[in-house]
């Protein structure tokens, strides 16, 4: 459903993504992993058209995204940090997002209800805590039943109850055959939610296969240790590079 074709992106002199190729298919849920600064968020932003690549192309549902904006109505995006205009109320934010998509008439308010946002629709955004803002972001991402869900660190800052609600929702949407793309540093969570692992290292795809074959290849039975092994391998490829970041 999303094809990343020969994407190359430079920030100044730094090559963030190097001739990047990936294929995301519907019905699968992908865990996008990699150390800090490996290019995960850049990749997501390129898919969303927020960052423009130096070369290469992205196809969403077979169509190039160059110069197009309508394709974004197929994507539900939950940013890492959701910040909104201070004086807008939750209800107004919801109706604004609904206004932008006049073609969609049915709204999925399950998350908004489960998070208790419906009772605080007239609260201005600047009075909300960081966690509540995350809940708003999550509700918006799922509100229009998009075919593609891109979630950038979805559970960061949420309380355990909200995390459970969100996880169940993600699993439910996954069951409906949607394409789900999650980045996170919480590996146990990725293990629950995804069935396909992509590991990016220094702007290249280091691993791209199902979680099952990841475990087979690394010879580990647990997802977290399998990823740790993967990381070791990716570091060994370049032994002279010692200042790798944490994960």
């Amino acid at each position: 459903m999303i094809s990343v074709l020969q994407i190359h992106k430079k920030f100044g002199k730094l090559d963030v993504l190097k001739d990047f190729n990936l294929e995301f298919e519907s019905g699968k849920s992908y865990a996008l992993m990699g150390p800090n600064g490996s290019g995960k968020t850049t990749l997501i932003k390129i898919i969303l058209g927020m960052v423009l690549p130096n070369s290469g192309d992205i196809l969403v549902k077979g169509k190039s995204i160059k110069g197009s904006f309508a394709y974004r109505s197929d994507i539900g995006y939950m940013p890492q940090i959701g910040r909104y205009p201070d004086n807008i109320k939750i209800g107004q934010l919801f109706s604004m997002m609904q206004d932008i998509r006049p073609d969609i008439k049915e709204y999925d308010m399950v998350l908004a209800k489960a998070f208790g946002l419906m009772e605080m629709l007239d609260k201005p955004m600047h009075t909300l805590s960081g966690g509540t803002r995350q809940k708003v972001s999550a509700s918006l991402a799922f509100m229009f039943c998009p075919d593609i869900l891109i979630l950038d660190e979805p559970t960061a800052g949420l309380d355990p109850i909200a995390v459970e609600i969100l996880k169940n929702k993600i699993l439910e949407e996954r069951g409906k055959g949607k394409l789900i793309l999650i980045t996170s540093h919480i590996l146990s969570e990725l293990d629950e939610l995804t069935n396909h692992a992509i590991y990016i290292h220094e702007g290249r795809v280091f691993f791209n296969d199902t979680t099952k074959s990841l475990k087979e290849i690394t010879g580990e039975s647990k997802f977290t240790t399998a990823i740790a092994r993967l990381m070791e391998w990716s570091l060994k490829k370049k032994i002279d590079k010692t200042e790798m970041s944490h994960v």
């Binding site: 920030f11 932003k45 969303l48 309508a70 109505s73 932008i100």
Partner: protein, 255 residues
């Protein structure tokens, strides 16, 4: 586009800044009206204050607004809307609020204590300068990724057009005092929107008689239909080019 503008406007109108700025302008206008009865003196004093304050506040406010709304702009870019519309809704909302503040802040006392044509032109120049400096501030904002840097650039626009440029022109006039400089100064005036606003306004008042031969030349030029047309189109050009350039950069910017 209008949907985005509606919400951008709602947010900005509700902010405390819009209210405080309008109140400030009202207070300035009231105090000046209290000091003098003579309408041309009032508009001259208002002009002098406006030429300093309005560009400064427009530039600083527009830059901070751009950066405060940056994350929201990013979110909007992930929605099915055009980049152009996201940009225009932000800048139009800022320009609208700045213009309304002048219109209400200076306009309300005028309705109370009377106004003439020169005061209306003053309002027009105030709105023009707000738009120009908001445009320059957005240009500064899209050029950098850092709020402090962008505010610095916006402030240097203000310092340059309000202070440095005049010094430069004065130096030029004194150095070449032996030559006829009318046309040169006229051209130089067109290169600075603040000066252009000031001259357009001064020509409306009788003070130009005090400015000697150059004043007479200016009076002649800005009084003619050609001069009015030319000066207002240059003013419009000043409003237009920063926005157009900023939008061009915004369309290619990485967020």
């Amino acid at each position: 586009m209008f949907k985005l503008l509606k919400y951008a406007l709602y947010d900005i109108v509700k902010s405390r800044f819009a209210l405080l700025y309008t109140l400030f302008l009202v207070l300035v206008a009231i105090s000046i009206y209290q000091v003098s009865e003579d309408m041309s003196k009032v508009s001259l004093s208002l002009l002098n204050i406006m030429l300093m304050i309005v560009p400064l506040i427009s530039a600083v406010f527009a830059t901070t607004h751009f950066y405060n709304n940056l994350e929201f702009t990013e979110l909007m870019l992930a929605q099915p809307v055009k980049r152009r519309d996201v940009f225009l809704s932000q800048i139009l909302a800022v320009m609208f609020v700045l213009s309304m503040a002048i219109l209400l802040g200076f306009g309300a006392p005028m309705i109370l204590w009377g106004a003439d044509a020169s005061v209306l032109i003053l309002l027009g120049i105030g709105i023009g300068l707000s738009i120009i400096f908001a445009g320059l501030a957005f240009l500064a904002s899209v050029l950098t990724r850092d709020k402090a840097k962008a505010i610095g650039i916006s402030l240097s626009f203000w310092i340059y057009f309000s202070l440095v440029y005049d010094g430069f022109v004065l130096y030029l006039i004194y150095s070449f005092a032996d030559y006829p400089l009318e046309k040169t100064t006229l051209a130089l005036v067109f290169l600075n929107p603040v000066d252009l606003g000031r001259i357009i306004m001064l020509m409306q008042l009788d003070i130009s008689a005090l400015m000697g031969y150059t004043g007479a030349f200016f009076q002649n030029f800005f009084g003619s239909a050609k001069g009015i047309l030319l000066s207002s189109s240059v003013m419009l050009l000043w409003m237009f080019w920063p926005i157009a350039t900023a939008m061009k950069i915004f369309k290619k910017k990485d967020f």
